[in-house]
């Protein structure tokens, strides 16, 4: 068995004295999709930037990030530059601001190709750019090449972003909330496109999102983050069907269901603790209705639970069951 496409071990990220992410473990196999879910500010994006090596030098990153068994952490920037866009590529959240406003779509695609294919003839590059636009199913691709980003709609711009990310057939594609800035109907199209590309190219897709519905639809594995730590991780089926962490349960319970009438939307009480004032013990305890003394004192470790997933809760076996009994959803 060869090394997994991406393996993150004990990743800890600190901005000065502030520890933003602690002991994150992730793994992603070729052709699979990993969903990374959490509230805004829980460390998802920082984790992803660390994987891409895009964090500024002052940020302390420890642990290990391996791409196909090769350690990425501690590599010089020049080595990472050669990897970025070639073996791992990224799609940003906001297609409105992620494209260069003064370069045409064709130029930007051409650039993404040229960076990793020095000496490729101009004509070949344009041809490849056109092929990429066709790949992401943009209408009138030949006309788009000459257009500027402001002439395109949000959905089309995100397609261009995806085309740029696909320019060198990456092994790993990281999508940072790729649909957050888009209309709901466009969201579905973009997710469909990502799924199709992933299936065709057999690449690993890391999907960062706070939309459980989207993750549940397309991911194979899911990791739930809370306040800089992973609180539950496992296959989508295991985690969604029988969550073992009260936070996961809370997230799932707060999803409105289309086939059920409800009086009131369910929310998790409280809000994410600030970076500088994270609670002692279990980071979720102030918001957890099930919190006991031990939760205030000791931070729970991730351990395997009955569903086959791993969860970080002292009462993983009983908490969610009792929550469910209390409020039959």
């Amino acid at each position: 068995m060869s090394a997994p496409l991406l393996e993150v071990n004990d990743l800890t990220i600190a901005f000065g004295a502030l520890e933003v992410v602690r002991d994150v473990n992730l793994s992603l196999a070729d052709g699979k999709t990993l969903g990374l879910v959490g509230e805004s500010g829980c460390g998802k994006s920082v984790t992803m930037l660390a994987i891409m090596g895009l964090l500024p030098d002052q940020v302390r990153v420890s642990g290990s990030i391996k791409l196909k068994g090769e350690e990425l952490l501690g590599r010089p920037q020049s080595a990472l530059t050669a990897l970025r866009g070639k073996r791992m590529a990224m799609i940003f959240q906001d297609p409105m601001t992620s494209l260069n406003p003064v370069m045409t779509v064709g130029e930007q695609l051409g650039e993404a190709i040229a960076i990793h294919n020095r000496g490729m003839a101009r004509g070949d590059r344009q041809e490849r750019a056109l092929a990429l636009l066709r790949l992401v199913a943009i209408p009138f691709p030949d006309r788009r090449l000459l257009q500027y980003p402001h002439e395109l709609s949000g959905g089309m711009r995100q397609r261009v972003m995806i085309a740029i990310a696909m320019a060198n057939d990456p092994e790993l594609l990281i999508a940072d909330e790729p649909t957050t800035a888009l209309d709901v109907t466009v969201q579905a199209q973009i997710m469909e496109l990502l799924q199709r590309l992933q299936a065709e190219r057999q690449m690993g897709l890391m999907l960062i999102s706070h939309d459980l519905g989207v993750v549940g639809d397309i991911a194979d594995e899911v990791a739930i983050m809370y306040a800089g730590r992973i609180c539950e991780r496992g296959s989508v089926d295991a985690v969604f069907d029988s969550p073992h962490h009260p936070y996961t349960h809370g997230l799932l319970a707060s999803l409105p269901q289309i086939d059920r009438t409800i009086d009131k939307l369910v929310a998790i009480p409280g809000s994410l603790p600030s970076l500088s004032a994270r609670p002692a013990g279990c980071r979720f305890h102030p918001r957890c209705v099930h919190a006991q003394d031990i939760c205030r004192r000791a931070e729970p470790e991730l351990r395997r639970v009955a569903s086959g997933a791993i969860a970080a809760c002292h009462f993983a076996e009983t908490a969610v069951a009792s929550l469910r009994a209390a409020s039959p959803a």
Binding site: S98, V102, E111, I164
Partner: protein, 282 residues
């Protein structure tokens, strides 16, 4: 409702909002001086160096702007002076912009110690009154148009360095720059292709506005004898010569009006460019 006929598309060419009257006047003035610079040899006017009339004649049909202390035609000298003044200002501005924005871009992009060192150098240069610094540099290197030009580049580059640094700092943190890095672009490419093309508009506006100031400073240096040397028809030295004959007002008027019109023209154009390029100023 499908049988509603489509409205014929009428294209009305709208007058661009930034092309206001002052801007048009500015463009006209600048166009006049550019044409004068390029074609002055073909104009049916007196030679600027020859003594073509009697001394100190007031404006007349023969000499529209009068004659100076040596009997030279003031109009001809003023028009010929445009060559020296405008070309020199142009060279000064271009050099200052190139040097200043290159330094500013590097400072803004690299940051840290490099940024600190370069910006302190800028602060030091800017802390001198421009005319004093220019005088000191010219005096140290010896009078002459070339040295005056060099002095003015030394005075002016920090303005653009500061401006460019600010632009680069703000554009560097935009998402498309991070996206370019994520696509594997190196530092040079990121700076040249993704940051600089978005940063030049305030530089252009400032350069246009400054052009008049440079013309003025050139004239000032010549006025105090640090720029062009006597026979050269340069506006500053002409005013300087005219100042001796204070009651023969026409000697100073020719070059004075020329400087005024150039400064005004470039200010008008700069205002227009700002309306065109900087959406925040509306």
């Amino acid at each position: 409702m499908s049988d509603v006929p489509a409205l014929p598309r009428i294209r009305v060419r709208q007058w661009p909002a930034w092309l206001k009257l002052p801007v048009l006047v500015g463009i006209a003035i600048i166009a006049f001086w550019i044409v004068a610079c390029l074609t002055i040899d073909l104009w049916p006017i007196y030679d600027p160096i020859d003594m073509v009339g009697r001394r100190l004649q007031p404006p007349s049909a023969d000499h529209w702007f009068g004659t100076d202390a040596l009997g030279r035609d003031v109009l001809s000298r003023t028009l010929h002076g445009a060559r020296f003044s405008l070309m020199m200002s142009c060279a000064v501005i271009v050099c200052a912009v190139l040097i200043g924005s290159a330094i500013g871009a590097v400072a803004g992009y690299v940051g840290g110690i490099v940024d600190g060192a370069l910006m302190r150098l800028v602060d030091i240069t800017l802390s001198f009154p421009p005319i004093l610094l220019a005088m000191a540099v010219t005096a140290a290197m010896g009078p002459g148009l070339e040295n005056a030009a060099l002095a003015m580049v030394i005075v002016w580059w920090p303005v653009y360095a500061r401006l460019m640094r600010g632009q680069v700092l703000s554009i560097r943190s935009r998402e498309h720059v991070e996206a370019a890095t994520a696509a594997g672009a190196g530092h040079a490419r990121t700076l040249v292709k993704h940051i600089l093309p978005l940063s030049w508009s305030p530089i252009l506006i400032n350069a246009t506005m400054d052009f008049g100031q440079v013309v003025l400073l050139t004239a000032s240096l010549s006025f105090i004898g640090l720029g062009a040397s006597p026979p050269t028809p340069e506006w500053g030295s002409m005013i300087s010569e005219g100042a001796i004959h204070f009651y023969q007002w026409w000697i100073c008027s020719g070059p004075g009006i020329a400087i005024l019109s150039v400064v005004l023209g470039f200010n008008f154009l700069g205002d227009g460019l700002r309306d065109l390029l900087d959406p925040r100023s509306k």
